[in-house]
Symmetry: C2
Subunit: 110 residues, 2 copies
């Protein structure tokens, strides 16, 4: 089992979050594509992918010499679940009324 903090740690690096966003928007991608589009070396990307995989954020599919990566839905569900556990706290607050109304225009007694 990977903990919630492990997931947050995996997503706390800009390079890794960028990798995850790519996989989310474009689906499964090979390591080579991810590495060639990044501005750091391939070994560095490989390490980031390993961190993400060990945190349970992404999964690997091997085909020949290629390794295809994709996001594990469970990881995002876990993060979402944590925020939802405390939804009553942040959804009902008027800390930033404008943002709240922008997210949920009919959320109050209009």
């Amino acid at each position: 089992m990977t903990s919630l903090t492990d997931t947050f740690a995996a997503l706390s690096d800009p390079t890794r979050l960028s990798l995850v966003e790519k996989l989310l928007t474009r689906g499964e991608l090979p390591a080579g594509t991810l590495a060639s589009e990044a501005d750091i070396s391939a070994p560095a990307i490989s390490r980031h992918l390993k961190v993400l995989r060990e945190a349970g954020v992404i999964q690997q599919r091997v085909q020949g010499t290629h390794r295809y990566y994709s996001v594990r839905p469970e990881a995002l569900r876990t993060v979402n679940g944590w925020t939802m556990d405390h939804r009553a706290f942040w959804a009902g607050s008027l800390d930033r009324l404008d943002d709240l109304l922008a997210l949920d225009p009919e959320g109050d007694d209009t």
Copy 2:
């Protein structure tokens, strides 16, 4: 402005996540209470609180010699917003994802 990765980084430490959970469930608390309940020194807690504050996760209210801390709703909204941006990817059961997304709004709990 604090980035999403800064928020994730702030929440990636078990001690800090624990502090945030305490503030979420019990509301505003002074630094002393948080420090006395932790198993590490007060200075260490103080630093964690500083990290959380600089990441925009918590806020501070000063009253006399006491510093009261509480969670900023905006922080949790931001995290929730990120998961919601990719909701189509992770929501629903894996094998029925496409079907679920194709269903109309009244389809899931009747």
